[in-house]
Point group: D3
């Protein structure tokens, strides 16, 4: 049976889901099953540019990851560059590996160079991401953040303008901040990396593709070698019977996991 990977769009609407599913489908390994789901509570927010918005969806992320564990997905991606709920979700993911774009992209960048810069929409995002990178231990590799002056919903409004700004930002990062690798710091900055990397001449990492492929790779390791998440000490999950079931902790009736699922290749 093929690997099963779930991508969680951490927002409550389905724009771009088909596009992402197509992108992942085009680059998956043979046999990999992909599911792209959104969260249910549509009205809450259209993006996660704010940490408070991130906090609003953490519970749903945890629940969707729990559901992925129950449904025996091999890996799941929390699809936002803030890596929202990553540590919380890993705890109850059972045998499912949990991946997130910031960690996956930075690990990759550190294999391709020594210093990376992150292209962000607005300066607002920098502090949250810097805190994540410091937490992961990669702070010594961070050359800079460079902002586009665009919000998440704006990236695809005028794609030529977005590209123009990306080129300018990446060039500044390389020339002024000595970046050796560029990371596009939002899963919605998709569709730009290839042309950009041809123009600026250094690797430009699309964080969504990086995260998806890392998830697929870790899913494969889990299947082959049994390298699933640890479940001791800090990784210990709540007791299944005494708490999770008894208290109905992840009960879908409370906040049912939502999802618009695409899996065109297995239909």
């Amino acid at each position: 049976m093929g690997l099963k990977v779930r991508w969680i769009r951490t927002v409550g609407y389905d724009t771009h889901n088909q596009r992402l599913a197509d992108d992942f489908g085009n680059v998956r390994n043979p046999g990999t099953d992909i599911e792209v789901v959104s969260l249910k509570n549509d009205s809450v927010t259209h993006h996660l540019e704010y940490q408070s918005y991130e906090g609003l969806v953490t519970a749903d992320i945890v629940r969707v990851v729990r559901d992925a564990a129950v449904q025996q997905f091999d890996a799941v991606v929390v699809g936002c560059f803030y890596d929202p709920g990553l540590m919380e979700a890993r705890e109850i993911s059972g045998d499912t590996v949990v991946v997130a774009p910031c960690q996956a992209s930075v690990e990759l960048a550190m294999s391709l160079g020594n210093k990376f810069s992150i292209i962000i929409g607005r300066q607002k995002w920098a502090d949250r991401m810097e805190s994540r990178i410091r937490e992961y231990g990669f702070h010594h590799g961070l050359a800079s953040f460079r902002e586009l002056g665009l919000g998440v919903p704006d990236f695809h409004k005028d794609r030529a303008e977005t590209e123009r700004r990306m080129i300018a930002a990446a060039r500044k990062a390389i020339q002024e901040d000595r970046a050796e690798v560029i990371i596009l710091g939002c899963t919605l900055e998709f569709g730009f990396y290839r042309k950009l990397q041809e123009i600026v001449g250094v690797p430009v990492i699309d964080c969504a593709l990086a995260a998806f492929k890392r998830a697929e790779a870790l899913a494969d390791l889990k299947r082959r070698f049994g390298w699933k998440p640890s479940r001791v000490w800090g990784c210990e999950p709540p007791p299944e019977d005494a708490e999770i079931h008894a208290w109905n902790v992840f009960a879908p009736s409370l906040v049912p996991i939502g999802g618009r699922v695409w899996n065109p290749w297995e239909q």
Copy 2:
């Protein structure tokens, strides 16, 4: 008008709320208004020993803090030693200062000594707390964690036994790990600090009292000096009209903030 401080019990039941409110009432400054609230979704969990549980309540914490901002509280405490949702809540707290027990206790400990140990219920908690302390920059002061072998709900089942274990754990922390200050690493480890500190001879910080008084102090600074939270760069909140209202982000109708309120002194 007196200072208004809200304490958020980050669970969905009200056991201990009256006790905490009484404790805070006994140590408040004259005129301080105290409100102890629990979260609404009672059934979810009885404690936050797990990071996944923490993730489940983050949204409600954010909402209750937003509500505190709207109601013009001066300060609010996220009442759990994991400091759950602290950064998320600070972003949308408006003019309300947000405080949390781990940060407040460790800051205090670093003013009273150079090395501190944290008495925890179960070893499970250590990793999460260590990560927080590293994030805050106090890792050089952390001597050790010492566990009691008790879950959160157990602290007050057999108080003599809890006390006996606390004495043993604190002594080991002092003698073997060279701790100079002891922190009780759970807001429900209340009622023990005074006797314990008499017995072991070093300061023993009750994290609930430390956090409450820090909140009251910061509330006072805000009133006197206008030192309210910054709202630029990483502290920038979502736009009030274009997003919060337009999208009804913190709408109580979605997940109404709950609360059982005690404020016996102002009745």
Copy 3:
């Protein structure tokens, strides 16, 4: 009995003492007793811009803190942003809590934002302060130092000019260095914070007020909860009889503690 707080002006003259005492008096909690003292050896220096000057007054700071312990002050502030003699004084402060402006201000800044800049008189000061901040563990929050091009004695010569420079420096810190909070890095930069924070729109911390209120708060914790300084391991003081008395270590006859005392509210 009210709390007793001593503020140590770390210089040998009394200009500004009345002003500081008035400022603290205006913001104290009811019942708090304030004493503002200078050091005795008037001729030594007019400011502590230099580390060598700091070294020259450390002994007197230690003695005045020892005296505060003997006189049962609840808290004492070493009133200079270099936090001179802080660790040395804490050791022999007995039950008296010792506070200093840099530590108090930065702790506060980290509760109001993620990145802070410090407005200093001259670039000379930056290195000393950076070293302190690194020692405390807050280096990740330091956005920058911005200098005014003024020495300590110059701040109040032409207050309009000082203010003009402060506005320019704070704006640069916010716009270019991404500071979210501004700290005025000298206890003599008093009288400017309020207007400045209205103009630049982020919290501007007056380090003298921050330190005084932190001292008052810690003094209160000590009284209420018995949280006085630890006295074990690195916090162990010299033996009282075998050394302090036998050797007459802090003998006022050698270098008597000085002081011009103002406490107008309790007269």
Copy 4:
């Protein structure tokens, strides 16, 4: 055309090469071409337990990686847990991605847990590895080293005894050092991970398998997305004509790359 991955045994003899090639062959993705080569200078050393030995083979590692670049391998692994010559080789690897076991294993461990311990042959190795882990930024995740009391050539002399010691070491790491993940810190500790992880109940990472699969995954990313090593700033290679050719820098006539090649699946 399938991916081409070269594994460099960093010693001058071919024992175990067939075994490794078989192991990798059993876990490769369809179409991946594997080559396991040893270095030429057979007599130098039988293992790399010593840093001086590591130094002796760095030049050959660099040359074999250069050769891999010329032969258009997609990825190459420097097959020793000291990650010898990793940074040196990355510089001249052209479009070939360079991977090493320590970095690959620790990255993986940090996705499966928060704290890892490394099972080493002799205590001698610990310092070198700790230095590498600090360099990569993962020091906060290192729980401990636990030694087996065996040299590299001894692991497979009495496999039952080796296994017995591994179980004891891993249990100590988990119970006493709070490790959540175990890493086998030598590429010759192969053949043990699966049974060990069943017995001790946490993920046990075979560093050779982890590195091979990471190389295969990065090779795939390179092919699909063009994410090849950066070649600017610190990643800039020597000029091809003016130096490499002019000076015959990597001339095989000097120290020809050696190699006993197995690629049984493509014969």
Copy 5:
């Protein structure tokens, strides 16, 4: 003219001065002039085991270093392993290089091995020294502190017993803490290093000898190459005329530098 080196005994009595002067005389380079001075205020303290004592003598250390600068010494050593007043003294040392035992010993240890342990008299000292070592950036090399259970005045009361304890402490440091180098962490632990290092088999650094020879070497560099202390930015000294002379800052009439001087070779 020969190099001139002053050693400052940071206490107010002259026991051991002759012994130290003899020791240094025996190991000086030809032509080096040595002066061993004590501080004047004899009664203050017999040792610097406490940070408060350190604070009491900082002013005198600064003055004696200023005097050394005026008298054109090439180098001066602040002779206590807490490195008391080092940064304060460096600022006004003019062209005189200032050295201290902790920094000199740890630099040396890091050239002879990767991990060092420090043998201290009492556990009390550890925290102060750890703070210094963290400040210098060598924390990654610190294996442990091991205490003898002896105060500074006790080292030479029963030398056989001191030696016995040193051997036991050093062995524990090597066997249990994996120390590769031993540092004797007090200038009065003289006379023991040679036999100890023969017995335990790793380098045992006498911190007084290490500091004296480092001072002599830096003095030599200053003479030969003009590498004297920087005097810009954080190294900027007070203005000579406008402050030092005008305010009589280092006036010997206030606290005259004291000293019992030995220089037997030049008599």
Copy 6:
């Protein structure tokens, strides 16, 4: 018998060797024997600007250091500012102390000031050096790198132009990066430091002279006090008989240590 110090030019040609030998001869202590050797494999490379080149010569550096140990040199310098092979060579240096220019220069800089900048030939070098400095623990002192736009072979082509660029770079480092000390970051930047330091007014460290004199000083400590390299744990060398001799590890017949030796003073 005088001290014996070997300087290893880490390239395969002898230009500049006589000049360096003369320079060292002019500043040696009486009786010190100096030997300047190059590596044998002349054709490999003309400089070590690239990490891959560094990797190519590591084996030879290790062999030449081993030979120095056999020939009972007191100290040896690996003469390149990347400190190539330093850790590898230290392991098998026997009783010979191993020194390198980057470590020696930065240690020195940290005794003369708080912040240093390094003048490099090309920006390419910065990343490698920053990694070294972070490894040594001195990252907090690094103000900046400033490049000359010159390769290693260019420094002495037009000395007036080199000097002009050095002055400009050093001034920028001081004025814009707040450097207090300047380090010339290549052993071939010789002959410039003295005039440069007169012009820019802060200490300018010639890294070759700094390393040579540090080697001489450590050699002296070894002779006088027996402070030779540790040989336990991470410092443990390969077994002499069972491996080094049995396997002929450092056999000169394989890659004979090369060298053109100058020692004009002892002829």
